[in-house]
Amino acid sequence: MSKLLSANFMRLRKNKVFWGGILFMAAAGIYYPIGRYIGMKHDGYTAHLEDGFFICAVFAAVLLSVFCSLFVGTEYSDGTIRNKIIIGHKRTDLYLSNLLTNMATGAVMCMVWFAAYLCAGIPLLGFFQVRGAVILLLTIAVLLLSCAFSALFTMVSMLNASKAGAAVICMLVAFLLLFTGTYLNARLQEPETYPVYDYVVVGEDAADMAAGMQEVAAEEKNPHYVGGTKRKVYEFLYDFMPGGQAVQCSSMESERPHVLCLYSGIIFIIATSIGMAVFRRKDIK
């Protein structure tokens, strides 16, 4: 497999999509803290370095969907996947070498974001305000999440011989997961009750009505609140699905980053197992 990896990494060095992704992450990583700093100065709110530090999870999901499908898809569209099989490489090795290349690409993209963000952010916003352990755990969660996304997109790309088809499916999956994550976040953020303000007249003189009004607050049930078993299912999906994880990481709202790491690992194993099992039997033209 080392031969296949060596060939993949050499191809990666000349891959325009890869360099495009790296440039985007570097540019966005520099722009984001500068934007926060300008906003802070202009609007007067306080911004911390960590506020947008993990938003790269969302960018990585979208960029990986494009990269994985095009990098692997080229093997099908140019027919070069045949060269690897004809000369006797095992299909498992072929699958894993592409997966490892995609994972490495995801990790490099995230690292570039982190480096660019810190270089631009520390001088402008100072250092992290939260504990180092939290940052470390979330960094691991984001890297594992990018591995889970890589595994999903590798599976789609390796099992779909059409480069364009794989690209469309991967991007749809990425956006669908992210939108689902955002939706689950919005539903779970709904409060169980909300205060209802009523105004009652306490004075008898109608002319003095305004003076005699009194505000009465009461808690009313929120019809949009998700409760019971449905809430548990929503919470599980929000933690388990990569889109939900990306939203949680980017907003740093996860209370259990280690659980996200575990779920990313499970998604990675499931996607890779299914992908390899089907690819081993796949007829290649």
Partner: protein, 304 residues
């Protein structure tokens, strides 16, 4: 005779469609094996199975004596170079980069052989031109160069001259002959351009509807395609007596049909047969090409 590739009752089904239906073939070592068949006959399917791109539904094959069910089949595949349908090349790379990529996949210790391979296929002067800007013939030759990267003993070419201009066809033919004659590489070529195959192949395999109709050497084919007179008579027994007396060479095809070779006096033959009450129903000159032979073999329409 030593065989590079042997298949036995090979079957491949796609759903209900039988692409290969018990194909048995033998590719002798050192030969240029012309694999002849119309579109959809199963040529490419067989090549895909041999190359490991697909698995057979039934039957077996062996490459250099290693059965496809043995684990060692991957090792014996390392002796194969193949161009299946379209050349497998990275279109965004130069010819040299494509070969470097293949060398890495093969785990070759150095890139020293690349210049030689490029020279062999006539792509030594392509410089930084990317493969997507190559002509069809150049891409085909680059595909062959990649197939040659691992110094294979057995080269499989699927429709190598399809879509090429006359010059491209000549160049590809010369390259294949050079690889076979100078480097001793066994070549399996699938094609339906029969005239081109006739100039190259030393063995022929005729496939139709997924099974082998006939395997024949070029020498046997040449004999079968000799110029002759095909006659239909009332009795080939009487015909053979007359021909034996005249000392003529002939082949009896059935009790009413025969092929006559050499210079024949039609009047004399007719009179002699008439004396023995043998009627001539038809008589026509036959100068068979590979194309005629193939059509006769598989029939013009659907062959079951």
């Amino acid at each position: 005779m030593e065989y590079v590739l042997k298949t036995n009752g090979l079957k491949k089904r796609y759903g209900h469609y039988k692409a290969l239906n018990g194909l048995t073939m033998n590719v002798p070592k050192g030969s240029i094996y012309g694999f002849v068949g119309k579109n959809g006959a199963g040529k490419t399917t067989l090549i895909r199975l041999v190359c490991g791109l697909q698995e057979p539904t039934e039957g077996e094959f062996s490459i250099y004596g290693i059965n496809n069910r043995q684990k060692e089949i991957t090792k014996s595949r390392r002796r194969i170079g193949a161009v299946v349908e379209t050349p497998s090349i990275y279109l965004g790379m130069t010819a040299e980069d494509n070969l470097k990529e293949q060398y890495r996949i093969l785990g070759m210790p150095s890139f020293d052989g690349i210049a030689h391979v490029l020279n062999l296929v006539g792509l030594e002067n392509t410089g930084k031109k990317k493969a997507k800007n190559f002509s069809l013939g150049m891409r085909q030759r680059l595909g062959i160069a990649i197939a040659l990267a691992g110094d294979p003993d057995f080269l499989i070419l699927d429709e190598p001259v399809n879509g090429l201009d006359p010059q491209g066809i000549v160049e590809t033919r010369e390259l294949i002959l050079k690889l076979n004659q100078e480097y001793g590489i066994t070549v399996l070529i699938s094609s339906h351009i029969l005239d081109e195959l006739a100039k190259l192949a030393t063995y022929f395999g005729f496939i139709d509807s997924g099974h082998m109709v006939k395997e024949i050497s070029a020498a046997e084919l040449e004999a079968a395609c000799r110029k002759c007179i095909h006659v239909t008579v009332s009795s080939t027994e009487i015909l053979s007596q007359v021909l034996d007396e005249a000392g003529l060479e002939y082949t009896i095809l059935s009790d009413k049909e025969a092929n006559l070779f050499g210079e024949i006096s039609v009047t004399e033959l007719t009179l002699k047969l008439a004396e023995r009450h043998c009627q001539i129903h038809s008589m026509r000159e036959r100068d068979e090409s590979l194309e005629h032979y193939y059509i006769d073999l598989v029939g013009g329409g659907k062959h079951e």
